[in-house]
Symmetry: C2
Subunit: 653 residues, 2 copies
Amino acid sequence: MALVLYGAVGLFIGMATAFGPVPRITWEHREIHLVHFQEPKTFNYSTLLLSEDKDILYVGAREVIFALNSLNISDKQQEVFWKVTEDKKTKCAEKGKSKQTECLNYVRVLQQLNDTFLYVCGTNAFQPVCDYLNLLSFEFGGKNEDGKGRCPFDPAQSYTSVMVDGELYTGTSYNFLGSEPIIFRNSQQSPLRTEYAIPWLNEPNFIFADVIRADPDNADEDDDKIYFFFTEVSVEYEFLGKLMIPRIARVCKRDQGGLRTLQKKWTSYLKARMLCSAPDKNLIFNIVNDVFILKSPSLRESVIYGVFSPQLNNVGLSAVCAYNISTVEDVFAKGKYMQSATVEQSHTKWVRYNGEIPRPRPGACMNKEARTDGYLSTLNLPDKTLQFVKDHPLMDDSVTPIGDRPKLVKRDVKYTQIVVDRVRALNGTVYDVMFISTDRGALHKAISYENGMHIIEEIQLFPNFEPVQTLLLSSKQGKQFLYAGSNAGVVQSPLAFCDKYSTCVDCVLARDPYCAWDAQESVCVDNFREHETERDWIQNIGGDASSCTDKVKEHSLQHTFKHGSTAELKCSQKSNLAQVVWKFKDDVLKVESPKYRLLEKALLIFNLSEGDSGVYQCLSEEKVKNQKFSQVLAKHVLELKKIQHTTVSPAQP
Amino acid sequence: MALVLYGAVGLFIGMATAFGPVPRITWEHREIHLVHFQEPKTFNYSTLLLSEDKDILYVGAREVIFALNSLNISDKQQEVFWKVTEDKKTKCAEKGKSKQTECLNYVRVLQQLNDTFLYVCGTNAFQPVCDYLNLLSFEFGGKNEDGKGRCPFDPAQSYTSVMVDGELYTGTSYNFLGSEPIIFRNSQQSPLRTEYAIPWLNEPNFIFADVIRADPDNADEDDDKIYFFFTEVSVEYEFLGKLMIPRIARVCKRDQGGLRTLQKKWTSYLKARMLCSAPDKNLIFNIVNDVFILKSPSLRESVIYGVFSPQLNNVGLSAVCAYNISTVEDVFAKGKYMQSATVEQSHTKWVRYNGEIPRPRPGACMNKEARTDGYLSTLNLPDKTLQFVKDHPLMDDSVTPIGDRPKLVKRDVKYTQIVVDRVRALNGTVYDVMFISTDRGALHKAISYENGMHIIEEIQLFPNFEPVQTLLLSSKQGKQFLYAGSNAGVVQSPLAFCDKYSTCVDCVLARDPYCAWDAQESVCVDNFREHETERDWIQNIGGDASSCTDKVKEHSLQHTFKHGSTAELKCSQKSNLAQVVWKFKDDVLKVESPKYRLLEKALLIFNLSEGDSGVYQCLSEEKVKNQKFSQVLAKHVLELKKIQHTTVSPAQP
């Protein structure tokens, strides 16, 4: 009686087709050598800090801080326990928290203060505390400062922090219940915080913070900016239930608050939506799980990478979106603001503000222009500007991703963390290599190539599929590693597994900017670890392996068989993008025939007879764009053992 | 640096785990006998009408109408072509439409007018036309009435219709462009239509319409109501892009429009949201694909079944929600209305109307109360009531599903159509058996049991995975069939495949209310087709097969083998919920050992030696709740053929 909804059907078909690229190689945990660190009875290795000068990885876990050799993290160099007193633990349990889990001290802040001290904070049985860790003695200063506003009370609560010029900027919650969110600068001279008001922060989940330095050559004399990333409950949209929105917020380093209005509050706090969606496919990623800012002196501008998932109908979808920092700055510096309007007494609706905007521009950093206008500090700012920013912290314009769509959309995976390495391939082209972790202990390494994504490999970092909670990348030339923290331990992984590729075709088809084929030595080398000057290496990130001159495999396995028996010919193929093809006497074998059965790593041939004698070749065929590259993986020679004729075999397909 | 978003992670884990029940049995197209009807060069068999008295299934396809024997649809009894004239086709093509496809006549309305006539409409090359089909001569009356408002212009456009007491009610579009949606009563005395205004209909996709008769014994003297189901663009919610909302709308049969306000328009048109969501999992199904109203004289009240899919982030999710008609009536009869409010000049927001509601209640049917108040017809209604309903057709309250959540949520499937049969199991319990079709030509047959769903079987109706466009259920006792239409043909299926179950355990584990085990005859019978009075039958919809006394399988297959060879022991298992277990000499075989390899339908044993001689049993183990039922599926006896000792076999795992 009813017609199928045409639009929706079309939509569905579009989506059901292959969602996101398949990782070319899947490395099981046992296949690769990764260095692990974990201590008995120690959990929650969630805070990592790298000292590249000293080759030390600091790890903040539950009730303990470690210093590990960053070149081999199984080599523990120091440790210091940081336990909750029995008294505090009891008090915490009296408030209804779990004595075994929540009422312990979870290290949440681990920041380098100077050469000698780390600034560290822990949840300390719901009484957050901060201290100074002397790196020489590896002992605490014993200051036990109140950690309120710097560290969450509850270890399950979201937080983020960044140290800028000796001052700690945090996004956390300010009370026991976790109901008062705050973006805070812990400063002797000028501690500043956000207003406690829904338009400023509405149940945020803080996930990342970082500083972007102003260009010192800029005539603007612009300020350094601290960016915060979080997901919060939307005020501007309305749907069934609470709708989440990913946000980017920023404050300026020179902010000193207002004199009367916004006294000891940020005058430069502005926030905007981060868009990560594919409208043509109705895909909306409105939860940001992690952010990484790729900063590099060689970069024209910094790039923000974020991993997202959808809040609605999420049955396993993740996306990566990337944003230019200039897009973000334009939204804050030139965009429209939103304002709230009251509808019929009870409802509030946020709409674009089209009225006059006071000068100086509300929320702007103190730059040359402001100083020229006579505003030397935010304390001088006129009340009109301050009142405006207090009421209008939300921008109407959204921060749109590069290319206006996700770089990567992947099905059946939940991405948790991201770090990005910018590398120069042999031909000089620069690639952003994304390392993205999952909630099942895996890592995807991906590059963007000609508008598409290529997932070079999937690495099982943790054997027990534990969610990856932290990722950290070192940048030391020739000694680069990736560190990942989970509830159960820390793992150290090289950035590439070039030596796993045994042929030139395999090495080139990997399309890994870290790997190249050394034709002289016949090995796939990590071109950032080798220090050769003469380079006769083959690499092609497009996957064109036609310059490879691998020798045809000559070695073959001999088998003799009896009439009527079954043969099992082994052949294993690592690439998930390749197809296995069997040839018999140079013709392609019809493996669909009941005579054969193709298993994952072998071919079975039933009811063998004289006609089955001969050479069997197992080939891997991999298509890259319109080129097909074949390699012989295995060669088997079958020969009939001449004995007396036998009865009917039991093994008939 | 960043904390994993705890809430979102928990959410995801909850979702990744088993989504929706797995169909217990999957019947491939070749495994079952279904009757097909299709004619060469004829497509779009989308309109079905059943005459149960005459055992005839009328099929409206492209340019032709068939009368088929409904007991065997391959038996075509009549056909009449209904082609577009060349002239019209040319004119249609001149307007930019495709001459080969769009400019043909698609039969869209096929309604029983009386014993002698069908009322039929077709798109007729974008000039919709209606006619009367004489069932005796199977010829058209040749009236060629203008079909505007009864049938869409465009065959790709949505439409629905229902015939009520000789008057046709339609939901369709009213113009060539398809931009003017309309809900229309085609009536000599009182043709009525909807206002052409966004609050009334906002880009609707009509999917179903049906009448619910008033209870003749009701003291209210309530009117018969015609319900329309569609998905339209939301006015009340706001998100990125257009947000769709599933709606139920209703009009009253006695409506005659207003005298001045709403002249020739519905005065009883009201609509409401249909909720189908699982808020705890953030699942929101906001596109309704099909609806079926289960009406039965024995029912206390009618039940509305709908199949839904999400608009946002839909990578293959479907749901079934059910609604009590009393819930719907309460929303329209007692619920709050919505009103639009203007915000800051440019924006409109729909909010709850909290003001005074005029009397008689706007949109109410003419019942005893209205007549007592002196309103004998809608023509008498006061202007205040009419103006209110004109401005407030949308209810603030939503129609919530039975149990406040979907009956079924299924992943990796797109449900297109639904019909429901209410059956009484042997023990007297009543079950609603849902037949739900997919866009890949399959049918799921499911029942609700103790708050969970059990999908009894999945049937491949169409061999080529064509989307099912129409489903129809006959209700003739003992001759019940399900009919499905697609673009390429019509298929007739029995409602159950009881005779496919060969043992009592299998028959009972099916948990199919149509099937029972006849212990005397040792067959699984369709208990609605058999007409026995004495019933010594076993059935248990909970799946408790413990009253079964199947004999242990005694028959076994003998194999002789040679030393070193490979054996293949066959065993196939239909139930997707069962596990296959192999036993050797009554001990469970460790099939993970390299000695064995478990294939889908066989066990391979490599490198046979004397110790492998003996009895191998293949068992199917199926768990239902906490009970486990085992059945021997196959028995193999392996025996060493004593011949001379041989060389090493090539087949070693």
